[in-house]
C-alpha cells in the first residue's frame, strides 16, 4: 500500500529550506552518527535494515559499504548517483527538487560510515533545476555547520560537491559515472577491481543511488530493525514507483515493497485511459522484460517481479493499452540503446545499430520473415558479451516484444503495415 516515508514532506513547498527540514527533525540522524556512533556501527544498522540499492541492480547497501577497505591509506569517496536516465524513471529528480536535504543528510551519513572526506552528487546535465536545488541545500548545510571542517565539533570533515554530467545514459552505470566524474568520456570499466576498492581517482569509492541514500536518515532515526519490518522479508522498505504511459493518473508513488502492481495501476493510477484494455506493462524501466495483463497482480518486490518474468529495476512502471503497436515500442527502445551505447564494446556498438536498423526495416514495410530470427540471433550475440549491462538492456525489450507479440512482427512483414495502429492520446487533440 501507499506508505510515505521519503515522500512524507514532498508536498511542503518550504521543505527545501534547511530551517523547515531541521524543524521536522532533520540532520538529527547525522548528528547522532557523528557524535554517538562508530562508522562500523552505522554500517551494521544499515545492514540490519536490509535495504537494497534503488538504482536498478538491488545490491544490499550495507554490504556495499562494508567492502570499502578500512586500512587503505588512500582517500575514500562517496558518490551519489543522480544520473537518472532510464526511460520511464523520474523518481530521483523529485527527491532532489522537493526534499534535497534528505539527500544531503543521507550522503553525509554514508560518507561518515565509509570514512569519506569528499562526497559528490552526480546529476545528469539536463537536470538544471534539481542540480540548483541540491547546490542550494548544500550551501545551506555548510552555513549551518553540517558540512565542512570539524562538523558539529565532532572532528569529522566532509566536503560535498554537485557535479553535472553531459546527458549520457551510460553514466548511470557506476564505473562509467566515475570515468565521467574524472572528466573522461563515460565509458565503463572492467570489474574487478570494484569501485569499493578502486573507484574514483583509483581510490575506494561507494556509489549509491539518490533514493537509496534518502532512506539513511530514517534508518538511523528509527533503527535498522524498524526498517526491516516494512515491505517483505527480502525486499525491505518502500519504493518510489514512477507510473507513466496510458494511465489516468500518472505520477510518482511511494509504496511498501510487496504491494500488488494492480493497486498502483488501478487504484492510484486510476486505471487505463479512455476505457481501453491493458496490453503490456514494463515494470522496472525500459531495460526490464515486458509483462502481460495476466501478471498485473504481481507483487512489486525484487523476488516477485523476477518470478513473474521481469525485474524491479529502477521502478519505472510503463503502461501500454491495446492501441499500442509493439513493433513501434521495440523501434523506439532500439533507437534509444543504439544512441546511448558508449561504443566501447563491439557487440553493443555494432549490435544495437543492427537491432535498430532491422526493426526499422520491418516497421517501414520492407521486412522479411527471416528478420525475426536475425533479431533473436543478434540478441544472443550481444547479451552477456559486453563489459556493462547496456548490451543486455538493449536486448531485453526486443526479445520481449518478439516472444510476447511475434504475430505483430509477422503482420508487418506479410502486410507491410501494423496489426495495431498506434492510436494514442494524441498531443494535437489534447
Amino acid at each position: 500500500m501507499e506508505k510515505k516515508l521519503l515522500f512524507a514532506n514532498i508536498d511542503d513547498p518550504k521543505q527545501p529550506e534547511i530551517d523547515t527540514y531541521i524543524s521536522k527533525g532533520g540532520y538529527e540522524s547525522f548528528k547522532k552518527v557523528i557524535k554517538e556512533m562508530k562508522p562500523e556501527e552505522v554500517i551494521e544498522e544499515v545492514k540490519k535494515s536490509g535495504i537494497r540499492g534503488r538504482g536498478g541492480a538491488g545490491f544490499p547497501a550495507g554490504m556495499k559499504w562494508s567492502f570499502v577497505p578500512k586500512d587503505s591509506p588512500k582517500p575514500k569517496y562517496l558518490v551519489c548517483n543522480g544520473d537518472e536516465s532510464e526511460p520511464g524513471t523520474c523518481k530521483d529528480r523529485v527527491l532532489m527538487e522537493h526534499d534535497p536535504h534528505l539527500v544531503v543528510e543521507g550522503m553525509a551519513i554514508a560518507s561518515y560510515a565509509i570514512g569519506a572526506g569528499h562526497a559528490f552528487i552526480y546529476i545528469r546535465g539536463e537536470f538544471d533545476y534539481p542540480a540548483s536545488q541540491m547546490r542550494k541545500a548544500i550551501d545551506q548545510a555548510y552555513q549551518k555547520g553540517f558540512l565542512g571542517k570539524n562538523i558539529q565539533g565532532s572532528g569529522y570533515d566532509l566536503e560535498m560537491i554537485v557535479h553535472t554530467g553531459g546527458g549520457a545514459y551510460i553514466c548511470g552505470e557506476e564505473t562509467a559515472l566515475l570515468n565521467s566524474l574524472e572528466g573522461k568520456p563515460g565509458q565503463t570499466r572492467i570489474r574487478p577491481p570494484f569501485p569499493a576498492v578502486e573507484g574514483l581517482y583509483a581510490c575506494p569509492t561507494v556509489v549509491n543511488n539518490v533514493e537509496t541514500l534518502s532512506n539513511m536518515s530514517l534508518i538511523i532515526k528509527n533503527g535498522g530493525e524498524w526498517y526491516s519490518k516494512i515491505g517483505t522479508e527480502k525486499s525491505t522498505g518502500t519504493r518510489i514507483f514512477c507510473l507513466s504511459g496510458h494511465v489516468k493518473n500518472p505520477g510518482n508513488y511511494e509504496l511498501e515493497l510487496g504491494t500488488p502492481m494492480s493497486y498502483l495501476i488501478n487504484d492510484l493510477g486510476g486505471g487505463i485511459v479512455d476505457g481501453k484494455k491493458l496490453k503490456a506493462i514494463i515494470p522496472g524501466g525500459s531495460s526490464t522484460p515486458i509483462l502481460t495483463p495476466d501478471k498485473i497482480d504481481t507483487k512489486l518486490d525484487f523476488e516477485s517481479v523476477v518470478e513473474a518474468g521481469s525485474m524491479l529495476g529502477s521502478g519505472g512502471v510503463i503502461v501500454m493499452h491495446e492501441d499500442t503497436d509493439m513493433v513501434w515500442v521495440a523501434k523506439v527502445l532500439a533507437h534509444f540503446y543504439m544512441h546511448e551505447s558508449c561504443g566501447e564494446c563491439t557487440p553493443c556498438r555494432q549490435g544495437t545499430k543492427w537491432l535498430h536498423d532491422t526493426i526499422t526495416r520491418i516497421y517501414n514495410g520492407h521486412g522479411k520473415m527471416e528478420d525475426i530470427d536475425i533479431l533473436l540471433d543478434l540478441c544472443d550475440n550481444i547479451e552477456g558479451k559486453t563489459i556493462c549491462p547496456l548490451g543486455d538492456a538493449a536486448v531485453i525489450p526486443i526479445r520481449s516484444t518478439i516472444n510476447l507479440f511475434r504475430n505483430e512482427y509477422e503482420h508487418y512483414i506479410n502486410h507491410k503495415k501494423p496489426l495495431v495502429e498506434n492510436k494514442f492520446m494524441s498531443f494535437v487533440n489534447g
Binding site: 546535465g125 539536463e126 566524474l181 573522461k184 525500459s286 523506439v332 494514442f424
Partner: protein, 158 residues
C-alpha cells in the same frame, strides 16, 4: 578569447573545488556552452587552458556527450523527448506540431534566429509526458495551447 570574464572566473572556481582538476572538464564545458550556445574547437582550447589540462582531454569529453551542441543553434534550443513514455502520450505529434509551426526541419534554426527543434532521448520527465526542454527549463504535460503560449512568451523575451 570567446569566454567571458565571468565564465573564466566560474570555471576557475569550479576547478578549485575538486581534488583533481580534470574533474572540472564537464562543468567547465557546461559553463562555456551556456555562455555561447554551442561548443567548438576554439572553446575546447580555452576551457582546457583555464582548467590546466590538455585540449585533447577536453575535446574527447566534449565530443562524447551529446547534450552539448557542436553547431550553432537558435537562441532557444527546444529538445523534445521522443522516448517511450512521452511517445505513448503523443511526442511524435508534438514534434510535428513544433516543426510545422516554426517552419523548420530538426536541427535547423528558424528564420528569425530564435528556435531550433531537435528530438532527444528520455529527459526523466516520464510521469508528466509529453514534455520538452527549452534551454535549461522543462515544460511538461504539454498541449498545443500550452506550446503556443510558451513560444509566444519566448518571442517576447528574446
Amino acid at each position: 578569447m570567446i569566454l567571458s570574464d565571468d565564465s573564466v572566473d566560474a570555471i576557475k572556481k569550479t576547478t578549485a573545488r575538486y581534488p583533481h582538476r580534470k574533474s572540472a572538464i564537464l562543468p567547465g564545458l557546461t559553463i562555456a556552452y551556456r555562455q555561447v550556445g554551442h561548443l567548438n574547437e576554439d572553446l575546447y582550447g580555452e576551457v582546457a587552458e583555464v582548467i590546466g589540462v590538455s585540449k585533447n582531454e577536453v575535446a574527447s569529453a566534449a565530443t562524447f556527450y551529446t547534450m552539448f551542441p557542436k553547431q550553432k543553434v537558435g537562441k532557444y534550443l527546444i529538445q523534445v523527448c521522443v522516448n517511450i513514455s512521452c511517445g505513448l502520450m503523443g511526442a511524435e505529434s508534438l514534434m510535428e506540431y513544433l516543426l510545422k509551426k516554426l517552419n523548420v526541419k530538426p536541427g535547423e534554426i528558424s528564420e528569425d534566429g530564435l528556435f531550433t527543434v531537435v528530438p532527444v532521448e528520455c529527459l526523466g520527465s516520464c510521469t508528466t509526458a509529453p514534455m520538452m526542454q527549452v534551454n535549461q527549463d522543462f515544460y511538461e504535460n504539454l498541449t498545443p495551447e500550452k506550446v503556443d503560449q510558451i513560444l509566444e512568451d519566448l518571442r517576447k523575451k528574446a
